[in-house]
Symmetry: C2
Subunit: 369 residues, 2 copies
């Protein structure tokens, strides 16, 4: 095996064809992730080594929030001129100030915000999961297609260099034929944000640990295999009162074409950890950590008796993700994690929940957008 080629330009933006232009982004929703990760990445967060992680191809020019006070504080800190409440956003005020929106907030509101943005002719970067069910996800895809705007769903790992290099190795047959995937994402949501949050509201979230963190290994295995699952088998458990109505723990097994399986689990109440492993007939790869937004992954590849362990240069995944989105807008390219990609995730989520409820193997519905 010769893996040198994959490590030589490890963090190069293999997707980039355009390096000029700026996409002006309105943040819709100023929750924790937007304030702590998105704004610093877009506005130039300082890193401990003195460099910054600032995006090259986009900037924040507008904030949409239900809290004027919070929005003003953020606007001051990051030098943003346009502040809108949700009614103003809906009515189309200030639309000249931005070219695209970043939709965060409760999953069940994504469609409404995206539809509003598309109606104003704005491109959409929507947080994952795209929506609470596949019907609403398909509606979003249609709304964006009808308006002729770009729709991307914010699966950071798809632009993370280690994940992209691993996919190239899989495509090139470095691991032989893929055989089995194992993936895991867990943490303590109650310790992070307490019990009073939309992620624990089944109406707003559409599910629990699977919807919020389990979708990462689900999306990753589809990305790495370049294939969609055929069927799902799953178990969900919610032993603790705080998780009534949403899955606290989930374990799901997916069948892919060509006899490949994925064994995944996720939890809202377990030691924080996220990793994946893909085993093939001639080798295997481990990515650890694999999904966390602040991760600096180590990629370990074994083929026969050879073993390479590699940690690439640190890349701010959020900045990378926003630049990838902006690049797709500027280059008029379709993002890989587009609406169709995310509809497939949510269709799989629906099969997983149905399997957990019925105890049966459930085939994943065809993706008909």
């Amino acid at each position: 095996m010769n893996l040198d080629a994959y490590f030589e330009e490890f963090a190069a933006r293999d997707w980039q064809t355009v390096d000029e232009g700026t996409v002006r982004v309105a943040l819709v929703g100023l929750g924790g992730f937007a304030r702590e990760h998105v704004l610093p990445a877009l506005a130039g967060g300082a890193r401990s080594d003195g460099t910054t992680d600032r995006t090259d191809l986009c900037e924040v020019t507008a904030l949409v929030s239900g809290s004027r006070e919070k929005a003003e504080s953020v606007a001051d800190e990051y030098g943003v001129d346009t502040i809108l409440d949700y009614d103003q956003f809906e009515a189309g005020e200030g639309v000249d100030a931005f070219d695209a929106v970043y939709v965060a907030g409760p999953n069940a509101l994504h469609l409404d915000y995206a539809r509003t943005a598309a109606g104003h002719g704005k491109h959409v970067l929507c947080e994952k999961p795209i929506e609470v069910n596949a019907d609403r996800a398909r509606e979003m895809v249609r709304a964006c297609e009808d308006a002729g705007v770009t729709l991307m769903v914010a699966y950071r790992p798809q632009v993370e260099p280690a994940m992209r290099r691993l996919r190239e190795m899989v495509r090139d047959g470095i691991l032989g034929d893929p055989v089995a995937f194992h993936g895991w994402f867990s943490g303590h949501i109650l310790r992070q944000a307490g019990p009073d949050q939309w992620r624990l509201d089944p109406e707003m979230a559409g599910g629990g640990a699977l919807m919020d963190v389990g979708v990462y290994p689900l999306n990753a295995v589809r990305f790495l295999l370049d294939a969609d699952p055929v069927a799902a088998r799953a178990t969900t458990h919610s032993p603790d009162d705080e998780f009534t109505g949403v899955d606290e723990h989930v374990a799901f097994q997916l069948e892919f074409p060509d006899a490949v399986t994925a064994s995944c689990s996720a939890s809202y109440r377990a030691q924080a950890d996220d990793r994946l492993r893909l085993v093939g007939t001639e080798g295997q790869a481990v990515l650890n950590p694999a999904f966390d937004s602040e991760s600096h992954p180590t990629l370990t590849v074994e083929c026969g008796d050879e073993r390479v362990e590699y940690t690439g240069p640190y890349v701010n995944e959020v900045a990378e993700e926003f630049d990838y989105f902006a690049h797709c807008v500027l280059a008029d390219a379709t993002p890989e994690p587009d609406g169709r990609d995310s509809v497939a995730d949510v269709e799989t989520v629906e099969a997983i929940y149905e399997s957990a409820e019925t105890g049966r193997r459930v085939e994943v519905g065809d993706v008909n957008v």
Copy 2:
């Protein structure tokens, strides 16, 4: 967390109460594992550092084989006086030369050999899996109980120090409440032994990758949790002709009490690898490698932000296993991997295969011996 206590006497034989006496063992079947691993361990195999791995409490005093030539060659090499063919063994010839038998060979023959041994009043150490189905496994248990002889099934990992220390940590709550287990065991059986072998014969083996290697993570998670699975969901695949009638790849998911799940997979045609991971509410542990007979495992334990990675002194697992068995005979103690333990494994295997065939969640039958 204070883990020092677990590492201080890492490889101490916590199970040992008797250190005198010798159990004389007859090897029934002289296949590759018996010749390459068992005989050197029992007769004092030399290690590269000059020490030996010899067992303290047992020795080989008889060989049962269908090949006189092979048996004589082995007898010469290891100084064994008694050689029997299967008819002689059945008829009770030479029974004064041994106290116990080690039953290897095709799974479907284990019951017959064990019953013969028990009929002669000999203790039984039987290779895993105990038999091809739960009915035959139960028969073996009854035969040994009726004869008043010890029955142990050769799950080496249960005497491997890292596995035992990890179980103590789980019992002591070091990881909090267990949440999810992931386990994997794979290799290339065709490259090891070609297509003409009993492991690929469904009648002789009772199954494929699950029966041979998948039972390791299955047995390990039961050992670590000290619990039996409630239900199974599974997928099997055999895309290649050599595996017609047995599972080439298997992925199985087990439900345990208290909302714990196990996500496991095994393969007869994939990069050789074996490891396990147990995640709890307050920590997680990885054992890698976990199941191979020549493994020298590294145990990694994380609790919150603390992390300990530890590789204990090398222990010859086969010697350890035989001494544990001999100790149970000498001390009149019941082995942990006894017949009942193994019946539970095979009942779970049956649920797994039924789930793979029907697509349904299958409850694991009660263990009624």
